[in-house]
Subunit: 552 residues, 2 copies
C-alpha cells in the first residue's frame, strides 16, 4: 500500500499506557469497588438489567486473573459516526489479546452493527492492524448506524456471535451504541450464553461524558482540527478586514464542540444551544446578539468578525423547535398528500391549515429558500432533516435584514459582507492527536483486560486524563451506572444520559466571562494545525474543556 | 498579547537562509548576468519601460557594495489575497535592513496599496515584528486590492513616498501587483526620483511562476492545509461508505491548487480547468466523466468518493464562458432596467431577448437556483461574480439528474448521496509551513539586499527550491523579463504572464497517468495536518508540483 509520509512516520509512534497497564499483561488484575446505582430510575433499571445492574466499578491493579492467558475469540464493532482514534482502540485490544495468548483471535464486524446482524466480518490479523496504527478513520472495517432493537435482531446477534465462537464483543460507539451494548450484555446472560459485551466511549460531539468518562475519544482531535480552521479564518478576517464569517460546527444535541472551539479561538460570537434553550432565546434574540457585536465593531471601523454556530441550534430555538415538531407531526401520515404539492405556494397554503398560527407565521417570516429546507428531503420517518438546514446562511440572511433596518434607523453605519462555512466531515477522520492516540490505545487495551477479567456490561474507562499518561486511572464502569429512563418514540427506554453543556460548568463560565470583550475587541487566537511532534506543550495538550473541568 | 501555544513556540523558529545570504550582511554583493528580454512584445515593452527594461539577472555573492550600510527608509505593501508567509517576508526585510544599519527604518502601508495612496502607514518596529515572526496572515498591516492605475494615483504614490523620505518600496503581491511594481519603478525614474521598487512573488494560487520564479509563496502551505482536509474527507468517505463529496478549491484562473491537492490525496475525480478549456469540454462532458466514475464504483458496491473542482471552472467551460460573457455585456448599461425585474420569470424573458439562443437555452437548462446565482449580486462593473456560483452544488445537482437517467436505462444501480464543500479561506492564513517560513524570510532578506544594491523594477527570487535551503540560489529578476502585452479592458497592457497548468508538464502528466485508476479504485492518500516539527521528511517537504517540475 502506497501511503502518505505522515502515515508512514506515525506507524512508528508508540502509544503511551498508564502505569497500571504497563508491564507484563499476565500481572494485571482487577480491583473492585462497592456495588453501584444508576443515576436515576434505579428500580426500573434493576428490573430491565436483572443480571448486569449494580455491578461494582473496576480498576486495574497488580495481580493475576484466572481468565488471563486463555485462548479467546473477540469481535468488535465500530458504531455510528467516525471519530479519530478508533483504529487505536482496535490496536489496543489486539495487542492485549495477543500478548495474553498469541493464539487468540480478533474479528471485526463490517460496517457497524449491521455486520453482526448479517454475519459479515473479517479476522483482524497483525498484518492488517499494522496498516492502521495511529491513523484516523474507521476504514479498517467501516462503520454504520444500524441499531440492534427488535427481538429478531437480538436473536440474530446471538446466533452469529455463537457461530463464531466469541468470548466477547466490543462495541465502540456513542451513548446510543453503549446503551445497545448494555442491552446486549443483559440479553446474552438471560439466554444463558457466556458472551461478554464491553463498550468504548466514542464521539467527537463530546456528549458521552460523566463522572467516570471524562471525555469521549475523538473530541480532542476533531476540536483541534476545527479550531485550526476557525483560527485560520479568524486571521483571514483580521487581515482582509472585510468579511464576517459564520461558521456552523458539527454537533446536533450538545454544543461542546462549539464551546471548545470558542475557548481555543476566541471568536466574536459563539452561540451555545444549551443556553438558548435555558433562556428560551428566540431567533430574534440570537440575531440581535450577533448584530450587537457587528454594530459595535462597525463603530470602531472593524467590519469583520467570526461567529460560531452549533449545528443543532435550530432544534433549541423555541419557535423553531415547535415548528419542526409540528411539521414532523403533520407530515407523518400525509407524505403522499404533501408530495403532490409541487409549488412552494401550494405547500404554504396547505401548511397554513395544518400547523398552529404561531408556527405558520414564523415559517412564513423566514426567507423562502430556507423555509424550503424545512420541507425538503425528509428522513424515512417523515422528519425534518435538521442537518440539511443551512443555519449559517439563514442567520446571515436574517442578520443582513436586521442590519438594513438598523442602518435606516441610523444606529448602524458599517458595511456587512458575510460568508458561511460548515465544518464537520473535515475533523472526524483526522490522524488522532497524541492525546487521542494514547487515550484510545489505553481504552482498547483496558477493554481487553476487562474481557480477560470476565466482565460484561461495562464500558472501558480512563480517568485523570489531564495528568501524564502514566498516571491515568484505567478500569471499567458498569454501563447501568450511567443510565436513566427517557421517553423515546412514545415509551420510556433505558438510555445513557447525554452530557450537555452545563451552564454552571467551568468551560461555559470561562467563555461567558470573556465573551463580551470578544464581541467588541479582536481577540482571536490562532491555534494552528495539530502537531504530532515538537515540544510537549505543543503536541501533548488536551482540550481546554477537559482542563477547565478538572479545576476544582 | 495572549497567544496560542503554537504561536508562542513558532516565535523561536529560526528561518533558514541560503549560504549566499548567510554570514555578515556587509559581505554580500550582487553578481550580474547578461541583459534580459521580455518573454514577448519586446519592442513595445522597451518603449513602456524606457528606464527599467532589459536589466540583467542578479544573484547574491560574496563582496561589498557601496549602498550596504547606508541609513535607509523602506516601506512595504501587502497586496491582494492573503498567503501564508507574508509576515516572514517582512521579518526578512526588517532583519536585513537593521543588520545593515540599525538606524534604518521600515514602514508598512496599511490595508494594501490604498495605504500608499492615502498615506496611511505605521513604523514596523522590532517590537511589532517579534509578534509576527513565523505566523500566518497579513494582519500585521492588513492587505487590500486597490490598484494603482490612474495618473492621479501614480502621482499620489510618489508624493507620499517622497514625503516619508523613502529609499524603496517593497510590494508583496501576485502577478497584477508585481506588474504594478514594475510600472511604479519606471514612473519614479521617469519623474527623476530615486525611489526603488522591489516585488515579491505571493499567491496561494501558484500562478506567478516562470523560469526564475519556481513557486509563489503561500502555495505550499495553502495546498497542504487543503490536502489535510481533503484527505480527512477521503478517509471519512471510505469509512462511512455513503457519500460522494464534491470539493471546490480556491483558484480562479489556474488549477494549480486542485492539481497539487489531487497529487497529494488521490481523489476519484479532479477537474482541471486548463484541460477543460484545451479540450473544449462541455459541462455535459464533465458530468459524464464524473458519472462514469460513480457508475463504475457503484458496480463494485462503492457508493462513495471524492471529486475536486477548481473554483474558476465555470469560466473555462465553453458554453458557460460564453454565457457569462454575454451576461456581462448585456448587463453593462442595463443595470437599472434589469434591477426593475423582480421575478425570475421576468428576468428570463428579458434575457431571452438579449442573449444568444444557445446561451439562453443553456441558461434555461440549469436548475433555477443555480441560474439565479449568475444573476445575483453582480460586481461594481455589472459582471457576474463567478466566486459566488456554487459550482460544487451545481455539479451535484446535474450529476444527480444524469444518474437518474442512467438508472432508468439500467446502466446505474447504485445509490447517490452527495455533500458539497468549498475550501479557500481555511488555508490563506495558516501558520506557514517550514518551507514557506524559510522561503519567505529569504525572499524578504534578498529584497533588502536588492535595495542595498540600488536595484529597481526587480522581483526577489529564490531558485533551486527543492534542494536544502543552504543551496538555494537567491537574487533578483527584472520584472520586465516576465512580461508581455495582453488585452485588458479594451487595450493592450503590459502584464506578467499568468502561469496556468501546463498539460505537457510533469505535474499534470503524473496526474493524468494515474487518474483512471483513481476513478475506479479507492486510492486515497491521507496527508494529515502540516507538521512544523518532527522528522525532516514530515516537516520539510515541499509540494509535489515543485518536486515534479524539477525532474528534468
Amino acid at each position: 500500500m502506497e501511503i502518505s509520509i505522515l502515515q508512514k512516520v506515525r506507524y512508528t509512534y508508540k502509544p503511551k499506557l498508564p502505569a497500571s497497564l504497563s508491564g507484563d499483561i499476565r500481572d494485571i488484575a482487577l480491583n473492585f469497588g462497592e456495588p453501584t446505582e444508576a443515576i436515576s430510575d434505579q428500580e426500573a433499571l434493576k428490573d430491565i438489567f436483572k443480571h448486569t445492574y449494580g455491578k461494582p466499578l473496576a480498576t486495574f491493579t497488580k495481580g493475576t486473573m484466572a481468565g488471563m492467558g486463555a485462548e479467546l475469540k473477540v469481535a468488535l464493532i465500530l458504531s455510528g459516526g467516525q471519530a479519530p482514534g478508533g483504529h487505536n482502540v482496535i490496536a489496543g485490544i489486539f495487542d492485549g489479546l495477543k500478548k495474553a495468548n498469541p493464539a487468540s483471535k480478533l474479528y471485526g464486524y463490517l460496517e457497524g452493527p449491521a455486520g453482526l446482524l448479517e454475519n459479515k466480518y473479517i479476522e483482524l490479523t497483525g498484518e492488517i492492524i499494522e496498516e492502521y496504527r495511529n491513523t484516523g478513520g474507521f476504514d479498517i472495517i467501516g462503520s454504520g448506524r444500524t441499531k440492534i432493537e427488535s427481538p429478531e435482531q437480538f436473536a440474530a446477534s446471538l446466533k452469529n456471535a455463537k457461530a463464531l465462537g466469541l468470548k466477547a464483543i466490543v462495541i465502540i460507539g456513542g451513548d446510543d451504541s453503549n446503551t445497545n451494548a448494555a442491552l446486549l450484555a443483559e440479553y446474552f446472560i438471560e439466554k444463558g450464553e457466556d458472551i461478554q459485551v464491553i463498550g468504548c466511549p466514542k464521539t467527537i460531539d463530546g456528549d458521552l461524558k460523566n463522572e467516570h468518562i471524562e471525555t469521549s475519544f475523538g473530541f480532542d482531535t476533531a476540536c483541534k482540527t476545527y479550531s485550526e480552521l476557525i483560527g485560520n479564518i479568524c486571521r483571514d478576517a483580521n487581515s482582509a478586514k472585510k468579511y464576517w464569517h459564520f461558521i456552523k460546527l458539527m454537533g446536533r444535541a450538545a454544543s461542546h464542540i462549539a464551546l471548545e472551539c470558542a475557548l481555543q479561538t476566541q471568536p466574536n460570537v459563539c452561540i451555545i444551544s444549551e443556553e438558548v434553550e435555558a433562556k428560551k432565546m428566540s431567533l430574534e434574540a440570537i440575531i440581535n446578539q450577533i448584530c450587537d457585536s457587528i454594530v459595535k465593531r462597525a463603530d470602531k471601523n472593524e467590519n469583520f468578525g467570526v461567529v460560531l454556530i452549533p449545528e443543532g441550534l435550530v432544534e433549541f430555538v423555541p419557535e423553531m423547535k415547535k415548528l419542526i415538531s409540528e411539521l414532523n407531526d403533520v407530515m407523518a401520515g400525509h407524505e403522499a398528500e404533501f408530495a403532490a404539492l409541487h409549488f412552494f405556494e401550494e405547500q404554504l397554503s396547505w401548511l397554513q391549515k395544518k400547523i398552529s398560527a404561531d408556527s405558520y407565521q414564523f415559517f412564513n417570516s423566514m426567507p423562502p429558500q430556507f423555509a424550503k429546507e424545512f420541507l425538503a428531503d425528509r428522513d424515512p420517518h417523515g422528519n425534518v432533516q435538521v442537518s440539511l438546514i443551512e443555519t449559517e446562511k439563514l442567520l446571515i440572511s436574517m442578520v443582513k435584514a436586521r442590519l438594513s433596518m438598523l442602518k435606516q434607523e441610523g444606529t448602524y453605519k458599517g458595511r456587512f459582507s458575510a460568508l458561511g462555512h460548515f465544518f464537520g466531515y473535515e475533523g472526524r477522520c483526522a490522524f488522532p492527536s497524541n492525546f487521542d492516540t494514547d487515550y484510545c490505545y489505553t481504552l482498547g487495551y483496558g477493554a481487553f483486560v476487562l474481557i480477560a477479567g470476565g466482565l460484561t456490561g461495562y464500558i472501558s474507562s480512563v480517568k485523570n486524563l489531564v495528568a501524564d499518561a502514566k498516571d491515568w486511572v484505567a478500569g471499567g464502569v458498569p454501563l447501568t451506572m450511567m443510565m436513566n429512563l427517557e421517553q423515546r418514540h412514545g415509551s420510556k427506554k433505558p438510555v445513557i444520559r447525554k452530557a450537555l453543556v452545563e451552564l454552571e460548568g467551568a468551560p461555559f463560565k470561562t467563555f461567558a466571562r470573556q465573551r463580551d470583550a470578544w464581541a467588541l475587541e479582536t481577540s482571536f487566537h490562532y491555534p494552528g494545525a495539530i502537531q504530532y511532534y515538537g515540544p510537549p506543550e505543543v503536541c501533548d495538550q488536551t482540550t481546554k474543556t477537559l482542563q477547565l473541568e478538572h479545576i476544582k
